[in-house]
Subunit: 202 residues, 4 copies
DNA sequence: CATGAATGAGACTTCATTCAT
DNA sequence: TATGAATGAAGTCTCATTCAT
């Protein structure tokens, strides 16, 4: 039986509240009661919809990461140059941050960068993103568009690392934020990774 | 005040044990007693040398990060091309990981990537590294060796992000490890960031 | 007030399910939702028919115990020797177990042997059984069929204790079960208590 | 290393307090804080000495039950008639109750009669007592002192059931208590089980 | 310096009960 | 009658920190 509409709403309410609370206080530092309070629901209702505090974070991560993986897959099916593929991926991640910075903060800080806890749990999912990015690089190398002295795996890590670090810069207020900066970032990440920082003499 | 020799030893014993425990279990998941057990010292002795569990991690981070900052400063004083400076910095970080992967794992996972807790506490120190790297880029741009359409701050983040992500790859076993790989990584990071992934037509 | 037929059915359904759940998991360890699930009724319906979880057990006990008390009363009105009266009572209890071991398990484990909770609540009912058994012994002593150096109260406890312990043996799989064993048990209990374990010379 | 004296004292303090609390409120109904309060120690100290609330009860039971098993073994080694052996065993249990009625109440109510929880856990230990009693009966039958139409297992259950039910009678105030009653009980139990309730015609 | 027993606040989780539909 | 979402009190257990020796 499909969940009733009302039920879905409360469940969503709790998930959305959890994003705000996790972003503000961190997963380990917040209490389940903080989430309940933020969602304005009774304490016990959180446990009606989720087996544990962990499951809330798992749900948030998997929901969002699945969308990312689909987006990367979608990008790779297009017939566009590899640089544009990477631009589209970076763009998707940047836009995700622009659209919901708290959610992206939670996913990065509490999952993808948390090597000991959730990061390890969701490693297969996370790795899948790297694999798909590496596949794009691999094809670009076969087509002799990308140089082949950098292994695809390695290139994928560098690319993804640069993207995540830029988001981290925004999260930590180490880089200026704003619509202009978000658009620029997409270009700059790709310019840096694909074109390189060094001037090419004409 | 000079500490006695024996005292220094026990203190060091605890710090080294903490590295192993934090690396294995994570800061939040381990107990102070785990550290004491690992160090084979009495529980209470941990509190003789450190005010709190937090202070242990703070100490580990600050010790090591200070060395990194000094290394970057040292690199920047040399009269070598910017690419070589970045190579030296990447090399220093990679060698740090090779020399003590557990310590580097702790610093990355528990501090530099932990936006909500220690990451925020030590933000000034962390930022300092970015600033120094950005300064290198800035000078390279003024000397017209690096292109100037990528802001130095941004370039610094991309570079540091790539390095840290490679270490993360090793930590998570997403990238192969070994002496050869460590050496290659230094070159590949710099090739990617400075030279770019795209082939340059001759 | 006459309950509608459907209503009675659901109520019975819940009681029967509760027997199985209590027998399997124990009263304290099971949840009301376990009972509802076992009965295949909605959670809330349990509270439509019963004020509380306690009331379900109370109902089960009182229903069954009342039948036992009536049976003992009925036995005592017959004009048969005391040994046959005790045989009839032991037989009734053994047959109750044979007919519905789960219900008897619940009554013994959760009520008659639970000194702190339900046992205390239903003490008057439980005591009534002892009183009626003691009365049988008392009459037998007056008729000089039973020896009178064992007080009737005491004899009643010994008799009932032996019966309950045999049931406990079956519940715990400490004694073999089966139709033959059930029949034998009736005789053996009475032989032991009335005849004694010692051989009588002569 | 042996526990220090102070440590043993606090541990004992907690165990003794637990007996009083379990006897008064029942295992399921009491809180760990009740035990700590009763022992006048800090809440956490309970968990310093015991892994869980369960472990406290386990400890109490195993300590005492071991003593009972040893006593039965000891009795069986003596060269005395079986009736005297059973008298000694009943006497040991009755004296245990006289000496520490709260502890015996806890053991009977919360363990030996709790089929679903601790009773099941400690079944092997409990069964051991029945086995040893049955062995005494078995030998008495071989020596043609006891009749052999009642199986030893069965006789053991009847005997132990009678003893436990008498204790239950005291616990529930269904039987009068007092030094006289305790002494009488020993004799009456054995008279009932060995001699039988029926008068033997001379 | 060294020990580890002692403290107690605080977290997660459970679940009986209520209630709106 | 029937449903199951919603409530929140209460309990177990953890563990950082303190302290007496």
């Amino acid at each position: 039986m499909a969940r009733t509409q009302a039920a879905v709403d409360k469940r969503r309410l709790i998930l959305d509240a959890a994003v705000r609370v996790f972003a503000r206080q961190g997963f380990h530092t917040c209490r389940v009661s903080d989430i309940a309070d933020e969602a304005r629901v009774a304490y016990g209702l959180v446990y009606h919809y989720f087996k544990s505090k962990d499951e809330i974070l798992d749900t948030l991560f998997l929901e969002r990461w699945d969308i990312l993986l689909r987006a990367i897959t979608e990008v790779d099916t297009q017939e566009i140059p590899p640089r544009e593929k990477l631009y589209a991926i970076a763009g998707f991640i940047v836009d995700s941050y622009r659209h919901d910075p708290e959610l992206m903060k939670v996913i990065i800080v509490e999952v993808t960068r948390a090597a000991n806890t959730f990061g390890r749990t969701h490693l297969p999912q996370i790795r899948q993103a790297y694999i798909q990015i590496a596949a794009i690089v691999d094809r670009a190398q076969r087509e002799r568009i990308f140089r082949n002295d950098v292994t695809p795996d390695f290139a994928a890590m560098a690319f993804y690392g640069a993207v995540e670090q830029v988001l981290t810069g925004w999260i930590f207020s180490l880089l200026p934020v704003g619509d202009r900066e978000y658009e620029d970032a997409k270009t700059l990440i790709v310019e840096t990774i694909c074109g390189g920082l060094e001037r090419v003499e004409g």
